[in-house]
Symmetry: C2
Subunit: 217 residues, 2 copies
DNA sequence: TCTCTATGTAATCATCGATTACATTTGGCG
DNA sequence: CGCCAAATGTAATCGATGATTACATAGAGA
């Protein structure tokens, strides 16, 4: 039976009661909450995000069909911030020196990953954007890949590289920075004798070692 | 004091009932179930492991204080297998050529990671062996790190390396293979234009590129 | 044989993702 | 303006899971 009854006529909301029935921009707030939870090292749960948005546990499902969709949206937002950082770094890099640009790219990549490890994990784990990912994210990724590819093509044309196998260089470079970022994320560096304070310097050193390795002597 | 009461006289178990009350080696079976679940791409849940062992949902907690402890034990077992593979590869590598050994190490590492991605994730994610990890696992890891270090020291003594910064080379090499393995795990290769069938060949190519980069020309 | 301890079961809890029925706003349309 | 439909929030509920507790049973050794 309808247990339902307008028991509370719902007095006109006094000025002290801040939150209206409708939230305003719940979707956005949920994404931010998810990113913040991740950054705090906590598990991202839909309910906790709802709690932080001061909203009922079911409300988020009005905006996201399931938890993964929320995580995917958070990944998209994190990727947006990541991409902005990369672009900024490239704007400051010398336009004419492809290897310098390659280096700047790697450095910006690692710096962001070091400083936003949880967000880096979200955008790279693949769980949240691999198959059903947003077209934006897919395009964004393809653009970044094409960027590094172009740098290597330019470098090869200028005769800067020892090897002509650009694909191999590209994948190796990617594996290098990705692996470095994950080592940090997964807490491997203590075991490898790299102290907290040395990590960013080591990142730079590793990138330089790689570039020296591929560059024509 | 035993609030205990023999309420049920409990009939003698008929011969048709196969499983005895005590399991025999539940701990072992649970670990195997966890590894198998991971290998199947499923989420590893304590209950599902218990189900596969045909045991009550609470039983696993007699052997592991919590889920993470089960995962840690599974990680330990996976690491044992991984280590065995590495050791086997090194036994077949030329004892006198440190760079060839370095290469063999990297290849064995990646081959195992490509063929056992889920197990590789368990042993590397750090979630299950970072802080309260078993001494065995910690020691094992330290040994592997020391192994690669020794190879590089030998190579340097034989004048095979371009750079004297062995630590940097070591970390870079580790980041390279770790990153490659994670790219595979995280499903990045399709985006990078590396087809399913080319991955192992690319792994070899990437390792060779790295070694060519650090070796004295 | 008797008892202690290890190990398994049953019942129960809190949390979480997810769904459903219902309530409240809001915005558009007459 | 007034009404209605769509959007958005709430409350109640479900099934699965990790975890705990009281109790049952088996096996080993005195």
């Amino acid at each position: 039976m309808p247990v339902h009854q307008p028991s509370k006529p719902r007095a006109r909301r006094p000025a002290t009661e801040a939150r209206p029935y409708h939230h305003g921009d719940l979707r956005r707030v949920l994404i931010d909450a998810a990113l913040q939870l991740a950054a705090e090292g906590a598990e991202v749960s839909v309910r906790e995000a709802a709690r932080r948005a001061a909203v009922s546990p079911g409300a988020p499902f009005r905006h996201f069909p399931n938890r993964d969709a929320l995580m995917a949206a958070a990944a998209e937002e994190a990727q947006r911030r990541f991409r902005a950082e990369i672009d900024a770094a490239l704007r400051e890099a010398p336009a004419a020196d492809p290897l310098a640009r390659f280096r700047a790219f790697g450095l910006a990549y690692l710096r962001w990953a070091m400083r936003n490890p949880a967000h880096f994990e979200i955008i790279s784990t693949g769980r949240y954007f691999a198959h059903g990912s947003s077209p934006d994210l897919t395009r964004d990724n393809a653009e970044l890949i094409a960027l590094t590819e172009q740098m290597l093509v330019d470098a090869a044309e200028q005769g800067l590289l020892r090897s002509a196998d650009l694909k191999r260089i590209q994948v190796a470079g990617r594996a290098l920075v990705y692996g470095f970022a994950r080592m940090n994320l997964d807490g491997h560096f203590p075991r490898w004798g790299v102290g907290e304070g040395e990590i960013e310097r080591m990142a730079e050193g590793v990138i330089d070692l790689f570039i020296a390795g591929i560059a024509k002597p």
